[in-house]
């Protein structure tokens, strides 16, 4: 399986340690975890009229939960870029958002042909899009670079002929939740 994990630094690992600590504390009964939630939205391949609806649904869901607007914007941008990739290249797919303690997890899966060279696809400007995609304003090779820029962690898995999974993590800022 080809997989790539990007954007992980020693600093970025620290919040993960915090999560583990929070879970340990939760087990000991002194920690009240944030309500957890997971919702999934269908993405229809090659439906360019509806492309983006799943990401707007996620954006509206996070708005209704009163998250920090800058965090919502980053999640929505990553979702939208990823959704366009699925619609253009991937066939049908699913976009899911998970609220888990101190982070949001955005996962996009599709049943398309997969990404032949993930590292190449992560480079700004590299594109396998066609003219139809470009006429809509996409396919300039900025999708995955934009997702990397706007997420705290990104993981792309694309085994040959077995679809693609893009998983992005966004750490919730301390004041990201107003309750």
């Amino acid at each position: 399986m080809r997989a790539i994990l990007l954007g992980l630094t020693e600093d970025a690992d620290l919040p993960l340690v915090k999560v583990r600590l929070a879970r340990l504390t939760a087990q000991s009964g002194n920690f009240k975890p944030m309500p957890q939630l997971k919702k999934s939205f269908h993405i229809k391949g090659r439906d360019f009229i509806r492309a983006g609806e799943a990401s707007i649904n996620v954006q509206n869901l996070l708005k209704s939960m009163d998250f920090d607007p800058r965090l919502i914007r980053r999640v929505a941008i990553c979702g939208y870029e990823s959704e366009m990739n699925v619609v253009m290249h991937g066939g049908d797919g699913t976009l899911s958002i998970e609220v888990d303690n101190d982070k949001l997890i955005l996962e996009i899966t599709d049943d398309g042909p997969g990404i032949e060279d993930i590292e190449l696809a992560m480079q700004a400007g590299y594109s396998t899009a066609n003219d139809d995609h470009r006429e809509m304003g996409f396919g300039a090779g900025m999708g995955l670079p934009n997702m990397k820029k706007n997420s705290d962690q990104i993981q792309v898995e694309s085994p040959p002929n077995d679809g693609t999974v893009v998983r992005m993590i966004f750490f919730i800022p301390d004041k990201g939740k107003s309750d």
Binding site: F48, I49, A51, G52, S55, I56, Q59, P69, R73, A76, I77, G79, Y80, E81, M84, E135, M136, G137, F138, A140, M142, G143, P145, N146, K149
Partner: protein, 117 residues
């Protein structure tokens, strides 16, 4: 500057967004590449584009764009106007080319998405 002043500077037609004419806009971006808009700091900016698809409005929703100007006197399909109206995103049609539209707004002291003039 106010959105109403932008409409005047472009001799433009307001397709939807009458209630937002007092909105203050300071930054302006011009692109037919939606990923470029998504990659930039485009909140509350005005976006000039030659595209007339629903993806322009979805990009504006996701990126938080304040208003969209369609250049070259193009009129977008009704469903695009309806979507902009539903989402409260002002939609403007400029009779000028992308170059002349940008020049007119630059002359009105609007700055770019990166804050440069």
């Amino acid at each position: 500057m106010k959105l109403s002043e932008i409409v005047d500077a472009l001799d433009a037609t307001l397709l939807t967004g009458e209630d937002k004419l007092d909105k203050i806009i300071t930054r302006c971006g011009a692109s037919d590449l939606m990923s470029d808009v998504l990659a930039a700091v485009s909140e509350d900016c005005i976006l000039l584009t030659g595209l007339t698809t629903v993806q322009v409005i979805r990009t504006a929703m996701v990126a938080g764009v304040g208003a969209v100007v369609i250049v070259r006197k193009k009129k977008p399909p009704q469903e695009v106007i309806d979507m902009a109206k539903d989402q409260g995103i002002p939609l403007i049609s400029s009779p000028y080319s992308m170059f002349v539209s940008c020049g007119r707004l630059h002359a009105c002291n609007l700055i770019g998405l990166d804050g440069r003039r």
